[in-house]
């Protein structure tokens, strides 16, 4: 039986909110990839989300589009992302890693082959942005057989009729897309996040992660008052992109410092559970 790092970590978090930090795999280079993931953990990320670069990331805003481009121009492939996770796993066998990407690179790789290779590399869950429940049937079997979580997205356009459909095959956690939009552009007001999380919690026992538009420690703190997991993507990718553009020599160090500021904000968001 494959070890379920995601369940272990969520259990360990208990009622403390957790931080999910995102980077595009292989951004800015395949060599730096594992060190950047390790830096996110060192900074205090509880889960790691790794983007699989795609030439046409239609659900992503400018920051993650740029991260995809940097990763692709550095020669990153899906195989490369899996290798990167495997290298990260040599020093960290506890932090859950979730892949996030688009269907086409996975289809080109082969769904079965992908699921097996991902599990072997130490991946724990998969989010494919452009695979809604209507198209997910061919993915579910291979992903489950490999012991991976199939993570589903709920959005501001999800209504009560559609939610059960989304939840039917969801595992790991439920990812709530906080705003109708692409990654890293608009942000949801706190009241809206609170209402959405409450609605989802009433429908599922899965932990609820909230992402899209969470860019600062202050905003992460407000989201963490309500969500089980707070996802920060574009802002981390910007730190990498800016450091890379400056020719900075310690990109992992800059990532670690930024993630630490987010982790601190998330950990102290609910004073009642810190004690």
């Amino acid at each position: 039986m494959k070890r379920d790092r995601l369940a272990e970590r969520l259990a360990a978090l208990g009622s403390r909110p957790g931080l999910v930090a995102f980077a595009c795999g292989g951004d800015p280079s395949p060599e730096l990839g594992p060190r950047i993931l390790a830096a996110m953990v060192k900074g205090g990320a509880d889960l790691i989300e790794v983007g699989v670069p795609f030439s046409d990331p239609m659900a992503d805003g400018p920051s993650i589009q740029a991260g995809n481009r940097r990763a692709l121009s550095a020669g990153t492939t899906l195989r490369g992302v899996l290798d990167l996770v495997a290298r990260f796993r040599r020093d960290d066998d506890a932090t859950p890693v979730v892949l996030m990407g688009y269907a086409n690179p996975v289809l080109a790789f082969g769904i079965d082959r992908f699921a097996v290779a991902a599990a072997r590399s130490g991946v724990d869950g998969v989010i494919l942005v452009d695979v809604p429940p209507e198209e997910s049937a061919p993915f579910l079997g291979p992903v489950r057989r490999a012991g991976l979580h199939w993570i589903r997205l709920a959005t501001p356009t999800t209504d009560d009729r559609r939610l059960p459909h989304i939840l039917s095959d969801a595992s790991g956690f439920l990812y709530h897309v906080a705003v109708a939009g692409v990654t890293g552009v608009k942000s949801a007001p706190e009241a809206q996040v609170a209402a959405a999380v409450a609605q989802l919690k009433a429908a599922t026992v899965l932990p609820v992660a909230v992402g899209f538009g969470v860019r600062t420690p202050a905003h992460a703190r407000t989201v963490a008052r309500h969500a089980d997991l707070v996802v920060v993507g574009s802002a981390v990718v910007d730190v990498i992109g800016n450091a890379h553009a400056r020719g900075a020599n310690d990109i992992p160090g800059e990532v670690e410092r930024f993630v630490a500021s987010l982790a601190e904000a998330v950990r102290t968001a609910r004073p009642e559970v810190v004690a």
């Binding site: 795609f54 086409n104 790789f109 209507e134 356009t157």
Partner: protein, 405 residues
Amino acid sequence: MADRDPAPSLRTGPDAQGRFGDFGGRWVAETLMPLLLEVEAAWNAARADSAFRAELDGLLRDYVGRPSPLYHAPRLSAELGGARIYLKRDELNHTGAHKINNCLGQVLLARRMGKRRIIAETGAGQHGVATATVAARFGLPCVVYMGARDIERQQPNVFRMRLLGADVRPVRTGSATLKDAMNEALRDWVSNPHDTFYVIGTAAGPHPYPAMVRDLQCVIGEEARAQILAAEGRLPDLCVAAVGGGSNAIGLFHPFLDDPVELVGVEAAGRGLHTAQHAATLAAGTPGVLHGNRTLLLQDADGQIRETHSISAGLDYPGVGPEHAWLKSIGRVRYASATDDEALAAFQLLARTEGILPALEPAHALAHVMRVAPRMPADRIILMNLCGRGDKDIFTVARALGAEL
């Protein structure tokens, strides 16, 4: 043969999931799923509503100028020395191409759904112009996404859209052409799900778009079928149309799918199929998922979408409508290609023999007609869709021919 059941109709697709065989579907972000379901339900209700149909037909007649003529091109036929060639004159439509057939239907649907804002992507600018036109006609604000490279090579259409009040937004990502404009339009839609209607310009994208666009473009083939029967008392032997995303081709072909008529779609071979610089998806593509549908794509072994090339901005797209991918897979439609140079030669031939400047897109279809017509006897009939006029392309053609304007 006589006692065999008639072959099942090829005109019944897609299925309830939006699939044509293995192609099509709804590969979109979850945020868009409820919107697609809403568009699908609204379209099904509208197409069954005689009042909607009557309003659309009235506008097609009085605003677009339909039916477009079916024209026997005598000097072109004589020059090529073979089959009789008929041109379906959709370039005479208001705005100069077939695109408006679809825009009118979709904008009427948007209005029926209470949507207050129209967005579109455009390649050559013909769909953008048609959408901006219809949006102006109904007083709706309109944003058109267009690749920065296409903006450069289609200046007249950009200015035309701006005159019509559209906000033309340059897209600089990727290859800065049609596929990137479509990414950006999808990003806009996902960010404005409640008030915005996305008018997709070709028979691709997520279900119900491929079927809806086809239904709206079928007016081309329905008219042409009746017109050729009236003119010649029989069906044509061959129908030819250019294929980028494939909306004019599916519009012409679909009403002939169950007839004994050969159908050929012509893709852009750019600088040649032996180079990487072409856009012949059906000839060289492999199955994959882009822009909401599973179809044939020009992609690398890692599933990254390749950049394409064609002198025609309207054909410069790495995917193709899913129904074409299916029609190819079952062998009902054959797909050929024509290079930039062949399209340029065809452009000039039609200008000189018939006094018609074709758009560079149907010039590709004509290039194929030039290849096959001379080998066909004089009693054979070719029906070609002249889906757009060439005024927008004169700068591109001038540059290619080394002429100073």
